[in-house]
Symmetry: C2
């Protein structure tokens, strides 16, 4: 150390300080590179990985949509209440940003996607805002062709449209497609579709039939409360849709609740579990499901993975006043 | 739609439902791929990007160290208080995880790194737990050779060691190295080093002199309160070290406080601003600085970038009871 100490002598310090003083601060005129690298062309890939016992979960964001807040976005809250909730979350009043976060679970035996995002056609339409799932998966080292099964939570477009490529082919070419039995029964019932004609969910019927039709309706319905793949147990969480499904991911002593759409944006509906989102087909039932799930999650300090939580969309739900609060997990830089 | 509707008839539904019922749930015996892809070899890159007006910030994590909580980690709090704070943040009592998150700012004119992480030698020693900064930068499309300047906040090893490659060369070969004038003056003063002999900061003196010595002491000291690069203004935030520096990043109406080490882990020191971390050379002064910065940030609803916040290490600090709370930013999947 002695030589170095001599090098960095008091004289050096004084000389350096003089430069600073004379220059009135430092002017970065000419580093050797001359000009900075150009700005990056876009966001870094949104991929995050964690273990649940021996299960390996990869969250790959599908992107986000930002739009003016519709008047009826929350069926039973006033505009100023909603704006106050947005401000409390450092979001802009009058606007909404919904994010979409499907996952892939490697069980050791199977590689299983849970939901699929908005799909490649939406990627083009939205200029890359959504439909990023497969790109981000690839950035995380997962080839969609190696996915053995796709588990669908419910039949809304942001969950099923990613089953198809932009030209209507299987986006996960080697995957078996597993759908909730109750959800399949509801949306494929022609009587239900007739009743929905002209109403807000007619489009959901048409879209579900378009997507599954393009797949030749080759799907395998699954029941609730039984492992569908080792470590993954679907549970009924109805209200958002009739057959809406969440999943318990479990291995050893570790457990995570993958809540699907039990709640939409946490800034609104975790904080205010009594608020009913416009997407919930049965608001009262969705609220009961939400309170039941969050009471369980908060009591058990259970990690919750939420499709519409900000990426990486994992956190803890704790009671706070009359509602709940989402505490995001701390990103681990190693697996 | 008609043909598809016929395809997906009630008969199909009943048949499918029967499979589910007969099978007692679904057994995923043989998807075409047979076996799942192998588990991923590690975490996805920790890179995140955001804009402040025309400035582009890239956060690239350097990793994390996890270790048993030293008895003196918080100078003025009891073990059970610390454990309670850890539990409240869903962390394990008796353990600490410190994360390190340097950034790169593209000002349009210059590409500027702020701090450098633990360095390549630490990457090898820690088996990749820390020293990830350059790897993650590259994953985010930034070549360290294009960095025009490195701004150092203070002279602790986790901020300066990344200036060197594993074999002691310049890790940012084309970058001018800018250091706080007050910090340079303190650590290069031989009298200060003599006084520190045998004490807790002797190693910091030796390490700083090792690192800057390897660089031939070719550094440019900068003053506080004057732009050092367009859009980046260093401000004095002493206490953690005598010349400890934070930065205001500003462009147009947008502004971010890059707080450096004004606080270490938010679960302890944002929640309890009166707690003094063992790394703070002057705990009382560090606390005054912390309260001053956080009072400003909470009053202005200013985004705060924190070197030791969980990646991507950006959030809002708001008042909560006698302390503060960090609300992490919502990850945006587009830039």
């Amino acid at each position: 150390m002695d030589e170095r100490m001599t090098e960095m002598s008091r004289r050096t310090v004084l000389a350096a300080a003089a430069i600073g003083a004379a220059g009135g601060g430092v002017s970065l005129g000419g580093g050797p590179a001359g000009a900075a690298a150009p700005p990056a062309s876009g966001q870094a890939p949104g991929v995050y990985r964690y273990k649940i016992g021996s299960l390996e979960v990869t969250v790959a964001t599908d992107g986000a949509r930002t739009f003016p807040m519709p008047d009826n976005f929350v069926a039973n809250a006033k505009k100023d209440e909603i704006d106050a909730a947005l401000r409390a979350a450092y979001m802009e009043p009058g606007k909404m940003t919904i994010v979409f976060n499907p996952v892939v679970v490697n069980t050791g035996g199977k590689l299983v996607a849970i939901d699929t995002g908005n799909g490649a056609a939406a990627f083009e339409q939205s200029k890359g805002a959504v439909g990023q799932f497969q790109t981000n998966l690839k950035a995380g080292g997962i080839d969609p062709a190696t996915v053995d099964a796709v588990l669908i939570s419910h039949f809304h477009g942001d969950h099923i449209n990613g089953l198809l490529t932009a030209d209507g082919k299987k986006a996960f070419p080697n995957a078996e497609i597993l759908v909730p039995q109750a959800e399949w029964a509801f949306w494929s019932d022609d009587g239900n579709m007739s009743k929905a004609a002209g109403g807000p969910i007619e489009g959901n019927f048409k879209n579900a039939r378009r997507v599954f039709g393009a797949l030749g309706n080759k799907v395998t319905p699954y029941a609730h409360d039984k492992e569908v793949v080792a470590g993954i147990t679907p549970i009924a969480t109805p209200g958002h849709t009739p057959g809406h499904t969440s999943f318990i991911l479990a291995s050893g002593n570790a457990k995570v609740l993958l809540q699907s759409d039990v709640t939409n944006h946490p800034a609104l509906f975790v904080r205010n579990p009594g608020w009913h989102a416009m997407f919930d087909m049965d608001g009262d039932q969705a609220e009961k499901t939400r309170r039941r799930m969050f009471d369980m999650a908060s009591a058990e300090k259970l990690q919750v993975q939420g499709f519409h939580f900000p990426f990486p969309a994992a956190g803890y739900v704790e009671k706070d006043g009359t509602g709940y609060r989402l505490v995001p997990v701390a990103w681990s830089p190693t697996l």
